[in-house]
């Protein structure tokens, strides 16, 4: 048995073999699923907490502030303190709310983001499920979250919430198109929807560079559209605190509010990791076709590091957007999608198909 931080395949096989040796096959699968579930849950909570902290620090530095600095050194335990505060807060019962839907909405939101994590490859072999339609699955699952948002807005029986939820509905329906189409551009180039193969396909250069202009356009569109899809940055119309106080989660308190909050950050993490995987090679180190020595040096940096570095970069970009731009109006949001992003995207796919057909990519 030998495992390294460069390849987790043998480690996984070792666990699988160990369980199968000691248990009957059914229980081995159950134990494996439980382990994966627990690991993902733990990962989810940790990343969520870290992202909240990171966001607060990033925005603080952009605004000439220090940010959280009271709980622990440099305030690193601030979000944990916040979590405890939210856990202990009263869950306010809304009298005229649709109680069942009101309670179920935060879970729908959080489950949608939870499911998407399963398909994301973190490193070679560190991959919960490797679907052959991985991208399709992630797009399908991550857009389920809007159902939760709509239910939350509707069931709160609050006018601000309803307006926020309706805005969010309109927003996701339109921007889902751009997200899908921009990923489709890369699928045309990669020729597969399986995440592991997409990553492998970037062994001699990331798709962003291999697909040059059309890939770059698709990357920019994906960044914009995915920011919109996660209800963040200049597209946080569903929350829009200066207009709708807090939008769809106005009436939520305590841990239910924390679920929405956490789901927002996890969605951000998910779209960032999709962008990193599809455009920037996922865990694949920075390779240039033909430069063997250079590639060797790059290989020396562990894949997990590459993966989280790229994801953090995309997340930083999204935070940068959020803390710089004013918010769009709902009609401008839809104009941006239907008049600019969608037509450009369609043309871009054609160009990409042409490029692939003629073999003009690297």
């Amino acid at each position: 048995m030998n495992f390294s931080i460069y390849d987790f395949t043998s480690f996984n096989q070792w666990i699988d073999k160990f369980l199968n040796d000691n248990l009957n096959p059914f229980w081995a699968v159950v134990v494996e699923l439980t382990i994966i579930g627990l690991v993902v849950l733990l990962f989810y909570a940790l990343v969520g907490l870290f992202l909240v902290y990171a966001e607060r620090k990033v925005c603080a530095f952009m605004q000439n502030r220090v940010g959280p600095n009271r709980v622990g050194p440099y305030g690193i335990f601030q979000t944990i303190a916040d979590l405890f505060k939210l856990l202990m807060k009263e869950l306010i019962h809304i009298k005229s709310a649709d109680t069942f839907l009101f309670n179920i909405a935060p879970f729908i939101v959080i489950i949608a983001s939870f499911m998407a994590i399963a398909a994301i490859p973190f490193a070679k072999g560190l991959h919960a499920i490797d679907f052959d339609i991985g991208i399709l699955y992630v797009i399908a699952v991550s857009s389920l979250g809007v159902v939760g948002v709509l239910l939350a807005g509707w069931s709160s029986n609050n006018k601000y919430s309803l307006i926020g939820a309706m805005r969010s509905g309109a927003q996701i329906v339109s921007y889902e198109l751009s997200v899908g189409l921009s990923l489709l551009t890369i699928i045309v180039l990669a020729g597969t929807m399986q995440f592991s193969q997409i990553v492998e396909g970037q062994a001699n250069g990331w798709f962003l560079f291999k697909g040059h202009i059309p890939a770059f356009v698709a990357f920019v569109i994906f960044l914009i559209a995915s920011t919109a899809e996660t209800n963040r940055g200049p597209f946080d119309l569903a929350e829009a605190e200066s207009e709708l106080t807090a939008g769809f989660h106005t009436e939520y308190s305590g841990i239910k509010f924390a679920f929405f909050f956490l789901a927002e950050y996890m969605n951000m993490f998910i779209v960032a990791s999709i962008a990193a995987t599809v455009f920037l090679g996922g865990w694949m180190p920075f390779h240039v076709g033909g430069w063997e020595g250079f590639n060797r040096v790059m290989d020396f940096i562990p894949p997990l590091f590459w993966y989280f570095g790229k994801t953090a970069f995309i997340i930083f970009l999204m935070m940068w957007f959020k803390w710089t731009f004013p918010r769009l109006r709902i009609d401008q949001l839809l104009t941006l999608e239907w008049k600019y992003l969608l037509p450009i995207n369609l043309v871009n796919i054609l160009i990409m198909a042409f490029v692939v057909l003629m073999g003009w990519h690297f």
């Binding site: 925005c59 207009e243 004013p326 769009l328 109006r329 709902i330 401008q332």
Partner: protein
């Protein structure tokens, strides 16, 4: 036997969807309540409800002597406290026909303009924040802090100064005042470029504000919309130009007039005004004449019986003080024509047919301070 219930026939088209914006709402800048009737996201009409922090300043003034009134005027439009003080002081000086020393006039003008810049900076913060750009808020406050530091050093407090007294000033300016003001102007000339880069030039901001909340010149005059909001509609209403006071006649500055009348014009007028104010200060700061910081005043100030009116250009528009005196040391009636109160009246007119997001932008561009509306 079942009872037959006659449900009223509901006409969805005619039903109004009311939203209470406020009294606690992030974008009303205080405790103002707007009852907004919506159709979808489109505002059909709105009714402002004010008075949540009505303190009866006009009634309190009837019990106070004139020097005591000064500290009440601080608390009306707290963002242009010096300018409010100036109005009352000038009114008393005019009624008593006192010649105020030249030095006092200069200091008052400079401090007024500093206050105007500070007020516009805070407006810029909240404008950016209302549009959703939270970072603007911190940049604006960061630079406003510099002015507040100058105020604190010279006058002892940051927001409610009570620095002017009838006939002069509470105390002379601090010895570092001139140097600090010049340093600030140098600093702010650099920083205001950031303001332009982050918000003025931003495409989202243009889209959000261009053509939104149009107010024609005729309506601006009829509704009495003064100050930067009125001047953005082309209404030449700058009291500093048309009824000069202080030493504004000695300073060379432009009255910013823009013809567009939309939210963006109201934004631009204020941005230009900050630069004009800096120009005024630069012209005056080195020429403060030596002299006394207060004229000789009697211990008890009694205004001769009669009526007096004084207009000044506050940061948000024209502030009028109307006093009816019966010869006592307290006024018989003191009325403040507050700029925000008149500006609020136009909100219903210009926000009809726009969206909720536009309503927030319009409200931010009118820049109301609720204590000034309620008084």
């Amino acid at each position: 036997m079942k009872e037959v219930i006659n449900l009223p026939v509901r006409n969805i088209e005619e039903e109004e969807y009311h939203i209470n914006m406020g009294p606690q709402h992030p974008s009303t800048h205080g405790v103002l309540r707007l009852v907004v009737s919506l159709q979808g996201e489109i505002v059909k009409n709105l009714k402002p409800h004010c008075g949540y922090i009505h303190r009866g300043i006009e009634k309190m003034c009837e019990k106070d002597t004139y020097p005591q009134i000064i500290h009440l005027t601080d608390r009306m439009d707290y963002l242009s406290a010096h300018i409010n003080n100036h109005a009352v002081c000038m009114l008393v000086e005019k009624a008593l026909e006192i010649d105020v020393p030249e030095r006092v006039q200069y200091i008052r003008t400079i401090v007024d303009e500093l206050n105007r810049i500070a007020s516009h900076q805070l407006w810029w913060c909240s404008f950016g924040m209302d549009l959703g750009g939270l970072t603007c808020f911190f940049y604006g406050l960061r630079d406003r802090e510099k002015i507040l530091d100058i105020f604190e050093e010279s006058f002892g407090s940051r927001l409610l100064h009570s620095y002017y007294t009838p006939g002069g000033l509470m105390m002379d300016i601090h010895k570092d005042f001139q140097k600090n003001v010049k340093d600030f102007i140098k600093y702010f000339r650099k920083k205001i470029k950031d303001y332009d880069r982050i918000l003025t030039g931003n495409i989202i901001m243009h889209e959000r504000t261009r053509g939104v909340g149009f107010l024609s010149k005729e309506d601006a005059i009829s509704y009495g919309v003064t100050g930067p909001s009125g001047r953005a509609s082309g209404f030449a209403c700058d009291v500093r130009k048309h009824h000069p006071y202080g030493v504004y006649e000695k300073a060379d500055f432009k009255e910013i007039l823009l013809p567009e009348g939309d939210t963006f014009a109201r934004y631009m007028v204020r941005m230009h005004e900050m630069r004009e104010s800096m120009k005024i200060i630069e012209q005056l700061i080195d020429n403060i004449p030596a002299g006394d910081y207060s004229a000789k005043m009697k211990a008890v100030i009694k205004l001769p019986a009669g009526e007096y009116f004084q207009r000044v250009e506050a940061a948000r528009g024209e502030l009028g003080v109307y006093v009816v005196s019966d010869g006592n040391k307290t006024p018989l009636r003191m009325k403040f024509r507050s700029p925000n109160f008149s500006n609020l009246g136009v909100l219903d007119h210009i926000s009809r047919g726009c969206k909720i997001a536009d309503l927030v932008a319009i409200g931010a561009s009118l820049d109301y301070v609720i204590p000034d509306i309620d008084r």
